[in-house]
Symmetry: C2
Subunit: 424 residues, 2 copies
């Protein structure tokens, strides 16, 4: 019996590798920051990519009414097909269909948020050991999902001095025989950039040359400032097959509802039945979004007045302008003018702020001294920048810019004509 | 240029192995069946595990009102934390907490349906190459999820002659050093069985002896017929850590809403912080359930009248009795009496039905001749049985049983005293 006791197993439960490899860089960085605001100044968070938190951007009443109607109909309580009700898929297809990129219900897969759309798209296109191309700076979820699945991520550079256009040479240099997906995020989080037709065509040309399908993260589709049109990649593609991911989260201002979709834009049967079937199979793992939201989808897409969309854009544009104009005149900062989405990136000329080690250090101290929190762009693999969310109420935007100015003035050091200064 | 053309890559997009390994046995079998009903008889589908399809089991008005209140509050449109609002997690904790298995908000993770709860639980406990133990017959999702993740599934036998109790010797014989999770589904789909306290304690003893954590799929918790109490595994466990998966789908009759949860019942810190952190990390991949449902959760759990629950159970029990009593008297069939959930399994004494090859063949012909569709239990890895869903309107249950009788009578052959008959 003593012998037997020695053999008795002991509890030794370990979290799986997948869970340990599911890394969230924003959390990793923010959780390590000492975020103690200045007690004399109320906190202003310009860090949260949730446009609903301040109450200044409520969703439209029609959107809420559509939900209540779906509930009252008693028709949307049972299981939907794992890819969504055909009727709801058709509504999305109709909303986004255009002559250059026609869509039918069968081309739409409804998902639990754009996040699951991205998850399914990456999961169907890539095997462990293969690689995907993702923007730098870029939304961190791409890397989180891919790495946890054993897929390598190669980051291609965006160029702040060219309105965050892709460095196409760099992009092309990363492609190898194991590259199975190119992720393009337009309009961009965190950049707020919107690509021109010409630039999108150049991107498509690269994908076409190497026969790499595109995952177009277009969750900010149509959220562009007046004057700069939004072009979906699919509408410009003649031969490159595209999975376009989107959802209700941003444009309809209901991110918590978890309604997303994949639009399958096949070209010359390059996806063929295999990718469609693969997506259907993957959708059966946990099924799609809440049926009430699915039931409301047709009304949400068709009954939301144009004013609602344009009011949102106006507010975002106006805040962007206030912020860009203010920060442009602050020595040591280089904001990049956005054209859409809800973000603005600001470069920090670190040589002029010798008291800070990094963007993390800079933004941490901005909290301590001025109670303004901006996300350090290290969270997007892009040091020496920080990201500002421009959906806050205008008075907070103005106040925050004033405080950032004060902060920078307090820490700015004009560069000395030091011969070691590489910039000379 | 001819040379260059030869080198030009060609489109060769393949669906990933994971998507190809995501197998849904129910679909695989049903899609291959020739399901042409008899044109003279209206179809009766006893195959669909969705209690809402016939309209005879509507959810409670309070449940719908809770949703409308959540919408009107304008408070639940933004992002929730990836594991759910703390307030909603606390509501679930309070609802399921008991002295033997206390729960707090931090012990609850809200998920997109019980399916995602099972996905996260398997994903956090197991690595590719390890194995899990799952019931046979059992809900097919366990295998679908595990296999797609490269995790082996070992099926342990349930014993129809013992009200589907687990064959504990068989269970124990399957355990090896790579076994990282024991899945127990109580009450059971497809069996409709409900385990006694004693049997659950025996299961816990096996898990304890080998130090294997349990995934308790308790989506049918409390859905038991009067007289047979439901015991959660956690309430009986002194040392075995348990992840209990549940949700609103079945008891509240809103499967489409995709609200599920994991209840973390740690024991002696066997899970420790690692499993909790692993679950949190995994939840960040696609975030949890729709925030409107989260906002309604407290009212749904607390304001639903007791009558609603007992009316549902009454209907299910009454149908079960009708069905069990009718099928018991049909030569060649061996229904197993259920005690809960919403299913009933029926054995087919195949030797008496020589015209059919299998349960698939049997149920296919039942459609062709009688327009009654029951799921062949091959879909649950359990040939020679079929599953009946007992949530249909009573008149359909009665009618279906009559037709099954007619069908069996038409095909039944009394066994001949054939010396080759191994049963002699
Ligand atoms: C670029 C981008 N893609 C996808 C998402 C995820 O969207 P959802 O909340 O619908 O999952 C976000 C959210 O911030 C985003 O910024
Ligand atoms: C035993 C069992 N577990 C889990 C589920 C999945 O539940 P949900 O619809 O909440 O994902 C089901 C659904 O039928 C089931 O029968």
């Amino acid at each position: 019996p003593a012998e037997q006791k020695a053999r008795k197993p002991r509890w030794n439960i370990r979290a799986s590798e997948m869970s340990r490899n599911t890394l969230n860089p924003i959390r990793a960085i923010v959780d390590c920051m000492k975020l103690t605001p200045n007690p004399d100044k109320p906190m202003i968070a310009l860090s949260i990519g949730d446009p609903t938190v301040f109450g200044n951007l409520p969703t439209d009443e029609n959107v809420l009414q559509a939900m209540k109607n779906a509930i009252d109909s008693h028709k949307y309580n049972g299981y939907a097909p794992s890819v969504g009700y055909m009727q709801s898929r058709e509504s999305v297809a109709k909303f986004y269909s255009c002559p250059e990129a026609p869509l039918e219900g069968k081309d739409v897969i409804l998902t639990s948020g754009c996040s699951q759309a991205i998850d399914l798209a990456i999961s169907v296109l890539c095997n462990p050991g293969q690689n995907i191309l993702a923007p730098c700076p870029g939304f961190s979820l791409y890397k989180t999902l891919a790495v946890s699945l054993g897929i390598q991520v190669k980051l291609y550079n965006l160029q702040p001095e060219k309105c965050w256009e892709i460095d196409l040479h760099h992009l092309e240099s990363l492609i190898d025989e194991k590259t199975t997906c190119l992720i393009v995020n337009n309009p961009s989080n965190p950049c707020g950039s919107v690509y021109s037709k010409e630039h999108l065509q150049q991107i498509l040309a690269v994908a076409s040359r190497h026969c790499i399908p595109i995952l177009a993260d277009e969750i900010y589709a149509d959220m562009v400032f007046p004057g700069c049109g939004f072009h979906s990649l699919a509408a410009l593609s003649t031969d490159v097959p595209i999975l376009s991911c989107g959802g209700l989260a941003k444009r309809w201002l209901v991110p918590g509802w978890r309604m997303g979709w994949i639009l399958i834009h096949d070209r010359a049967q390059a996806f063929g039945p295999e990718i469609r079937e693969g997506l259907v199979k993957l959708s059966q793992r946990i099924l799609g979004p809440c049926t009430i939201v699915q039931g409301a989808l047709d009304c949400i897409l068709n009954n939301t007045p144009q004013d609602f969309y344009s009011n949102t854009i106006s507010l975002i544009q106006s805040n962007s302008q206030i912020c860009y104009n203010a920060l442009s005149t602050i020595p040591g900062l280089s904001p990049v003018k956005p054209s859409g989405a809800m973000y603005l990136m600001v470069g920090i000329e670190m040589k002029h702020f010798p008291s800070f080690q990094s963007d993390v250090d800079f933004t941490e101290r901005l909290v301590t001294e001025q109670s303004v929190f901006c996300l350090p762009a290290t969270a997007f693999d892009y040091p020496n920048f920080f990201r500002i969310v421009v959906t806050v109420p205008q008075h907070m935007m103005v106040e925050a810019c004033g405080r950032i100015r004060e902060f920078c003035q307090a820490h700015y050091c004009p560069s000395s004509p030091d011969r070691n200064d590489l910039d000379q």
